[in-house]
C-alpha cells in the first residue's frame, strides 16, 4: 500500500470529516484548503489520526506547513 492509499484509509476512518471531494477521488496535487475545504482544526485532526495510526510522537507544528495532499503523503513516507 503506498502513502496515498494509506492516507485514504486513515481518512475513511476519521470521524466527523466532511471533505469537498470523495476520499476515493483525492489526488496528490489537491490543495487542502481550496480543493478539500480542510480548516486548521481538521488539519490537526488528520495529523493526529496519522500519528496515532503509526504510533509516533511528532510536533504538530509540521501540519501547519502542509499545503497539498502530497505534503501529507510525504509526511507519512517519513514516519
Amino acid at each position: 500500500m503506498n502513502s496515498l492509499e494509506r492516507l485514504k484509509e486513515i481518512l475513511k476512518n476519521t470521524d466527523d470529516l466532511y471533505l469537498r471531494s470523495p476520499i476515493e477521488e483525492i489526488q496528490p496535487s489537491m490543495n487542502l484548503i481550496t480543493d478539500l475545504g480542510i480548516d486548521s482544526l481538521t488539519r490537526i485532526t488528520i495529523f493526529y489520526e496519522i500519528t496515532d495510526h503509526f504510533e509516533v510522537e511528532v510536533d504538530e507544528e509540521i501540519a501547519a506547513s502542509w499545503n497539498t495532499i502530497s505534503d501529507v503523503t510525504k509526511f507519512i513516507e517519513q514516519l
Binding site: 466532511y18 480542510i38 480548516d39 482544526l41 490537526i44 493526529y48
Partner: protein
C-alpha cells in the same frame, strides 16, 4: 477532579473571555482546572480529565480519555462522533437560540419574501417558527405535529415552493445528503433566499457556486463556511449574491454570562 477548558477556537469574536476562565475556580474550588489553547496540550490534558468544557475537541483526542464523564460544548452543534461515545454531552443549544434567530430575522428584514421554509425543528427551528408570521410559513420536521409542519418525504415539493429556505438542522450524514444538487438545488426557485447559520458543510461549494452564478436573483446569506474562517480569496466571495459574515450568529451580548450560569448549574451535578 480535573476539568479541562478547551479554548481552541480560531475566531477572535467568539474567544472564551477571561471572566469565564476566572470564574471556573470559584465554581469548582476543589478542582484542578486546566485551560488549553493548543491541540497538543488539549490532547494530553484530556487523557486524565473528568470533565471537558469549551470548544469541541477532535474525536481522536477523546478516544484517549480514560476518566472522562461529561462534556459541555460551547457550540450548538454536537459532532456526530460524540453521540456514539460513552460520555454525557451537553451544549449551548437553547442558550444561544435567541441570538441565532435574531441574526436570521435581521437578514430577513432586508429582503422581500413570501413563502418561508424552515428545515428542522430543534431549539433554533422552534424559536424561529414562533417568531415568524404563520401565513406562508412551512416547517419540515421528522415528526409533524401541527398544520404548519410537513414530513421530510415532502422535502423537494416544499423546497420548490419556498422563497426563503432556512436550514436549522445539525450536520449528520443524513442531513448532509438532503442538500445535494439532485435533491435540493435543482428544485429551487430562481430568486430563492437561503439563510444558513447551521453548518457550512451542509452545502457543497461547487453546488453553491453553480446555482448562484446561474441564478443572479437568488441570494445566499451565511455565517458558516468550509473552511472557517473562509479565505479572503475564496470562490464564494466572488459572487455579489452571496454574503458571508463571521461565524457570530450564536454569540450575542450576554451569551457568556448565560454559559457561566449553565456551568454553575452543571457544577452541582459534577461535584
Amino acid at each position: 477532579m480535573k476539568i479541562v477548558l478547551s479554548d481552541l477556537n480560531q475566531n477572535p469574536e467568539t474567544k472564551i473571555p477571561d471572566s469565564l476562565k476566572n470564574s471556573l475556580s470559584d465554581i469548582f474550588p476543589l478542582a484542578e482546572i486546566v485551560i488549553v489553547q493548543s491541540p497538543n496540550n488539549l490532547r494530553k490534558a484530556i487523557v486524565d480529565a473528568d470533565y471537558l468544557l469549551g470548544w469541541a475537541a477532535p474525536s481522536v483526542f477523546l478516544k484517549k480519555a480514560q476518566k472522562l464523564k461529561s462534556i459541555f460544548l460551547f457550540s450548538s452543534q454536537i459532532p456526530d462522533s460524540y453521540t456514539k461515545m460513552p460520555f454525557k454531552i451537553r451544549n449551548i443549544t437553547g442558550l444561544n437560540a435567541e441570538y441565532v434567530v435574531s441574526y436570521i430575522l435581521e437578514v430577513l428584514s432586508n429582503h422581500t419574501y413570501k413563502n418561508t421554509l424552515i428545515i428542522g425543528q430543534g431549539a433554533i427551528g422552534k424559536l424561529l417558527k414562533s417568531k415568524l408570521p404563520k401565513d406562508n410559513l412551512r416547517v419540515i420536521t421528522r415528526t409533524p405535529t401541527d398544520e404548519l409542519e410537513t414530513d421530510y418525504k415532502d422535502f423537494q415539493l416544499e423546497v420548490s415552493k419556498a422563497d426563503v429556505i432556512i436550514p436549522c438542522v445539525s450536520l449528520t450524514p443524513d442531513t448532509k445528503g438532503l442538500f445535494e444538487n439532485n435533491h435540493f438545488f435543482k428544485f429551487l426557485k430562481e430568486d430563492v433566499l437561503i439563510i444558513n447559520t447551521a453548518r457550512g458543510e451542509l452545502f457543497e461549494e461547487q453546488d453553491l457556486l453553480h446555482f448562484f452564478k446561474t441564478n443572479s436573483k437568488a441570494f445566499y446569506h451565511t455565517d458558516v463556511t468550509v473552511p472557517e474562517p473562509y479565505p479572503k480569496d475564496g470562490a464564494l466571495r466572488g459572487l455579489s449574491n452571496i454574503k458571508i459574515t463571521n461565524h457570530v450568529a450564536g454569540f450575542g451580548s450576554g451569551i457568556w454570562e448565560k454559559i457561566d450560569e449553565q456551568i454553575k448549574n452543571l457544577a452541582q451535578e459534577w461535584k
